[in-house]
């Protein structure tokens, strides 16, 4: 029972980290129709910037400076890159961000090298908050939970209580109408892209010490973020939150329990082949849940797309 609690906390941390990424992506995707493949690259950029800042002035200033820098870079890329490609249609836009992801990984390697960087959580949070059955819960994990909650509440406030939030919400549901209301749509797009990538950068600043700061960190997280927003559905902040938590817990619990497929197969009344080593089904009989844990979200996504193409909580079609 203690382990369930520990896993719930760990899954929450994973899910909330994912949410910081997916919230920005879902804003961008819903408004601009651009599935930003480079989103996780901005997350990586956030971690690298924060590392560089932390070597001069420590962790905390980086928490604020790095996301702003990333957001500015994101806005510049929207202004001078994406807006240009926009006229050719959605597929070239998608391909542009795809190429951008490749390029950003190379650029990061050019400046910071290919090694893992020693980007660490601040000393003040470097202690064990409490332990459950010998399992330590570091204070930094709690910090992540609170930071992500803070972001969610702030986003919710901006989207539901402010004027710009109402415009964005309208644009999420009816992308064409905002233009008719006389708003400067390119500027709104640039702003949304900047804020979205800035959020990704913030996620990088916070996740860098926890999950490691290395050139592969974007690719590792890249596609799972799309999976999250596709499952969550378009234009829904709540959808993004719930899908993130769902995936966080699925991947955590799949690893935590060694469910063997052999047990399932036997429960189904199948009998284990006598000569397992030469059976064509040997891999199925030796499979365990932790082996496939990380790919379960993809399976979930395919099922969702086939039966509910607008996602679990989506308000309109992809």
């Amino acid at each position: 029972m203690d382990m369930v609690l520990v896993n719930l906390i760990d899954g929450l941390v994973t899910g909330l980290l994912l949410f910081m990424l997916s919230s920005g992506l879902t804003l961008i995707f819903s408004m601009m129709g651009v599935l930003n493949f480079a989103h996780a690259s901005f997350y990586m950029l956030g971690a690298y910037f924060a590392y560089q800042i932390s070597t001069y002035v420590g962790f905390w200033p980086g928490l604020f400076i790095a996301p702003v820098l990333v957001g500015l870079i994101g806005a510049m890329i929207e202004r001078y890159g994406l807006r240009r490609v926009h006229q050719y249609g959605h597929v070239p836009e998608l391909i542009f961000t795809f190429g951008l992801a490749l390029l950003m990984e190379e650029v990061v390697q050019f400046f910071w090298g290919k090694n893992q960087l020693p980007y660490e959580s601040p000393k003040i949070l470097d202690f064990t908050l409490f332990s459950i059955a010998g399992n330590a819960i570091p204070a930094y994990k709690m910090f992540i939970i609170f930071a992500a909650m803070g972001i969610f509440l702030a986003l919710l406030y901006v989207l539901t209580k402010t004027r710009i939030g109402l415009i964005i919400q309208a644009a999420l549901r009816h992308p064409r109408t905002v233009e008719a209301l006389g708003h400067n749509v390119p500027f709104v797009f640039m702003g949304v892209f900047g804020v979205g990538t800035g959020l990704a950068g913030l996620a990088g600043v916070i996740a860098g010490p926890e999950l490691g700061t290395f050139p592969g960190m974007a690719a590792l997280l890249g596609s799972i973020v799309f999976v999250t927003i596709v499952i969550g559905g378009l234009g829904s902040l709540w959808g993004a939150l719930l899908a993130s938590l769902l995936i966080g817990w699925i991947t955590t619990f799949a690893v935590a329990y060694n469910v063997a497929f052999a047990d399932i197969l036997e429960a189904l009344g199948l009998s284990r082949p006598a000569d397992l080593a030469s059976s064509a089904w040997r891999d199925l009989w030796t499979l365990t849940m932790p082996q496939i844990g990380p790919i379960l979200p993809y399976l979930l996504m395919i099922i969702v797309l086939v039966f509910r193409p607008y996602g679990l909580f989506g308000k309109r079609d992809l």
């Binding site: 020693p118 330590a136 290395f214 690893v255 496939i292």
Partner: protein, 414 residues
């Protein structure tokens, strides 16, 4: 239009590939390993070590066979088997007869197969495969062939040494095995289970699991299981970011016992573990220089660091590859006839530069050498890694590890 494209292609091909003419008096060694992409650090580090070893042991000592110099020719295989096979062909066309490769057993498997077939189909330009790092046991067992020589201790030999040390530590009663879900990870786990049950009957294996390679974002759930299992020690063959992620998560979760690893050092890993990994992370490897075995070793490592300030000697065996190749050429009296050189290398014995002896076992072309169990620490470190305070200090040396280890290899000789 199509014609011009093909013409352009032709020019480019001619420029790119044909521009090398074999210089007489040079022994070229193709270094086929990742020089770009995520594993480039390991590749470029190995390349520097090869160049340095060739300079130190051959070129600055008057060359081999009366003056022939060693030249290391780098080829970027992007850690892809397909690219490796293309670069192998390019290397052979440039007249290169010695192929050095190490990163990824998958690539080594592809190369050893391809070289075997190439040597059978093209008896006039046969090549030797100097495997300096790929440790999948299959390469010197089921898949062994006359052209392949392995200079690292294979995964089984290292595990044999490791379990000796674990057996000696009476405090360790419960072991947890975790590794990447692919051939090497599985080989490590299988060897651990075999050796522990044979040698340490009262040891309990409390966990034995594989995780997807390079796809785990957060190792915390794995760490939780390890802590919850009450394990005293952990054995893992993980490398790269999977190693860092696992190690950090396990330490963060409050684990205090030793973590026995194969590849948890250098290329940023030592610096990242830093104080957290002190006296917890342990490595099994085929050579170490803290403390240096001799003045020559000390000078060799210092010299390398002076020349490559951002790199480290991480693969001690590379020095032995160059030394043994040179010795075999001198014994065979040729630096071109690879069959004679291979015969000379079979069963060859010589001093190990890092201390002790070397034996290239004839029956499976597996190098037998001392294996070291080392610990990640900042105490008693002469040569730290990653420009940090931390490095690896020798805790135990197993002399001529795996000298009598069995092999299923049935070597066919030309």
């Amino acid at each position: 239009m199509r014609t011009t494209t093909k013409l352009a292609l032709g020019t480019a091909l001619a420029l790119g590939l044909g521009a090398t003419t074999a210089m007489a008096g040079t022994v070229k060694i193709a270094f086929i390993d990742p020089l770009s992409g995520p594993f480039a650090t390991t590749g470029t580090n190995g390349l520097a070590e090869f160049k340095y070893a060739a300079d130190q042991f051959v070129n600055s000592k008057g060359g081999v066979l009366g003056g022939d110099k060693f030249q290391i020719v780098p080829f970027d295989n992007k850690i892809s088997p397909k690219e490796s096979l293309i670069q192998l062909q390019v290397a052979i066309d440039q007249g290169i007869r010695f192929i050095a490769q190490g990163n990824s057993s998958g690539v080594a498997n592809a190369l050893t197969d391809a070289i075997k077939k190439h040597n059978r189909r093209n008896p006039n330009d046969r090549v030797l495969f100097l495997n300096y790092s790929a440790v999948d046991p299959a390469l010197t067992n089921a898949k062994c062939n006359f052209w392949h020589f392995r200079f690292d201790a294979n995964a089984d030999i290292k595990m044999d040494a490791l379990t000796d040390v674990i057996k000696a530590n009476k405090k360790l009663k419960r072991t947890y095995l975790i590794g990447q879900d692919y051939s090497f990870g599985k080989a490590v786990a299988a060897a651990a289970v075999r050796d522990i049950s044979a040698k340490i009957p009262d040891m309990k294996i409390v966990g034995n699991e594989l995780h997807p390679i390079g796809r785990v974002k957060d190792f915390t759930p794995y760490a939780r299981k390890i802590v919850a299992s009450g394990a005293d020690d952990v054995i893992t063959g993980n490398w790269g970011s999977d190693m860092v992620g696992l190690g950090k998560a396990v330490i963060d979760a409050g684990f205090k016992g030793p973590i026995y690893t194969y590849y948890a050092a250098a290329t940023g890993i030592t610096r990242t573990f830093g104080a957290a990994g002190k006296n917890i992370i342990r490595l099994v490897q085929e050579g170490n220089y803290n403390p240096p075995a001799s003045k020559a070793v000390d000078q060799y490592v210092s010299g390398f660091k002076a020349k490559y300030p951002n790199k480290d000697i991480t693969q001690a065996r590379i020095a032995n590859v160059i030394r043994m190749l040179k010795a075999a050429m001198e014994k065979a009296g040729t630096d071109t006839d690879v069959v004679k050189i291979a015969y000379a290398m079979e069963g060859m014995q010589m001093d190990n530069f890092w201390g002790g002896k070397l034996l290239m076992r004839a029956k499976d072309h597996q190098m037998i050498q001392d294996v070291y169990i080392t610990v990640h620490t900042d105490e008693g470190i002469t040569h730290p890694l990653d420009n940090s305070k931390y490095g690896l200090r020798t805790e135990k040396v197993i002399k001529m590890a795996g000298l009598n280890s069995p092999t299923t290899c049935k070597m066919k000789r030309p």
